[in-house]
Amino acid sequence: MNLYNVINEIEKTDPEVYDRLDGRREALKRFTGFAGKVAALSLPFMMGSMFKKAYGQNSSAIVGVLNFALTLEYLEAEFYKKAVSTSGLIPASDMPGWTTIRDHEVAHVAFLRQAITALGGIPVIFTAANFDFTAGNGTMSGPYATVFSNYDTTLAVSQAFEDTGVRAYKGQAGNLMSNNDILTAALQIHSVEGRHAAYVRYLRQKRGATNNKPWITGNDAGGIPGVAAVYAGEEITTQAGVQITGINGMSISANAASESFDEPLTKEQVLAIVDPFII
């Protein structure tokens, strides 16, 4: 597909296409800029986003959601970068999994930055210096002071981040419905966070947190102190007015009912959870 031809063809029916795209040079610069940076796979997504902006659909609300997501992805990316690069922290058997997660979070940061820019927004930016992974709000001696010296603490913070991330994306899906490409991409990130969460929970269960299954049971925090807010509300057993426990005569326990549906968090709830980690 020739990207220049796309604009040329549209111009035949809409002579003002270049004005809509902020002028020909800017439009082509955007195309070539992105074409150089992103995989061919992402191009339809980028194009769709650009045209949506050009044709006047409101994107500021969506940019706000994506910047919120980007903040969380930065938090995670910097956390995993630090954990993976701390020698002697992660056992060799688990290291491939941790590097996978690190690479994913770094890629999510890059992807969201591109998406926000494509929508005409300005992506937020964070560095390692913006975070205190001990949850000490900058004191570097918060409740998880051993976050990079004790692997169990590292795992605990990771689990809290991943389960929070899953709930955060879930809570925002409805705000992305006006843009199918963005919604789908957000869902694709959301399920990757779900995979991460299950993996980290599985590692913790194998290391002795016996009731901490890959899925969330009730509002159980898996023995992690100070994270009740991460799991608050996960215990519900009614979905869209339908009682799941014992549904239709099936032997579905309250635990299974709560496990089988993950619950959303609002942006405010998420920001309150991550606040101690952001300086």
Partner: protein, 238 residues
């Protein structure tokens, strides 16, 4: 219309558009063809939104709109629930107590999902589907876990692809509540097969995005496991 045929038709039209570049006229031509085929299928399969059994040979019709999408999810949950029910009923040799615990949990989750959709859809729900597990050796751990992996990864990609097809925000939320649990299942099953493969690059792309598949893609993969013919031709496409 059988789903496989429909997929071939759509793919060839997309190829035509790809090969000719993206001209507006071609695009309208493409849309027109799609519209025409939907009308023909609609008239063959009855009114949109109408669930049908297989009496006239057109298959179980998932219906249209949000209910169609929910019936699509219901069909997949029926498949998964039937599979894990069989896994626990005829356990493979050497199943550890830990594996039994996980697989029993997953069975219960899938049954909960299935029954939720059945109840939520009420009179709009499709009937129970007949499954075909003849290709699975339930006595063999490898056979069971590789099938479980395929089903879970497929389920995740199905929900990811179906989100944009929903118009009611509450349905989207429920789908979101389920898909992350399916992702948790997928990750666990993958760990049972190969450590550290919970989100390997066969399923997560270079942008760290999970797969998103269209209903046509999903149903053609699930097809061999479902004896009942499924007619997805009235589902929304965007």
């Amino acid at each position: 219309m059988e789903i496989k045929n429909q997929k071939i038709t759509v793919t060839s039209e997309i190829e035509e558009v790809k090969q000719s570049g993206f001209s507006r006229r071609k695009f309208l031509h493409f849309s027109g063809l799609m519209g025409a085929s939907v009308v023909v299928v609609g008239s063959m399969a009855g009114l949109p939104g109408c669930k049908k059994d297989d009496k006239d040979g057109s298959g179980v019709n998932l219906g249209s709109g949000d209910f169609g999408v929910l019936n699509y999810a219901y069909a997949l949950e029926q498949l998964e629930a039937a599979f894990y029910t069989q896994v626990i009923t005829s356990q493979y040799s050497g199943m550890t107590s830990s594996e039994r615990g996980y697989l029993t949990d997953i069975r219960d989750h899938e049954i909960a999902h299935r029954e939720f959709f059945k109840t939520a859809l009420g009179s709009n729900a499709i009937p129970a589907l007949e499954v075909d597990f003849s290709s699975i050796d339930f006595g063999n751990r490898n056979s069971v876990l590789s099938t479980a992996k395929a089903f879970e990864d497929l389920g995740v990609s199905a929900y990811n692809g179906a989100g944009k097809l929903l118009t009611d925000v509450n349905f989207l939320l429920v789908a979101g509540k389920i898909v992350s649990v399916e992702a948790r299942h997928a990750a666990l099953i993958r760990e049972l097969i190969t450590p550290n493969s919970f989100a390997a690059n066969d399923i997560v792309d270079a942008n760290a995005l999970d797969k998103a598949r269209t209903p046509a893609e999903v149903l053609s993969i699930a097809g061999p496991f479902i004896k009942t013919k499924i007619n997805a031709s009235n589902l929304p496409t965007s």
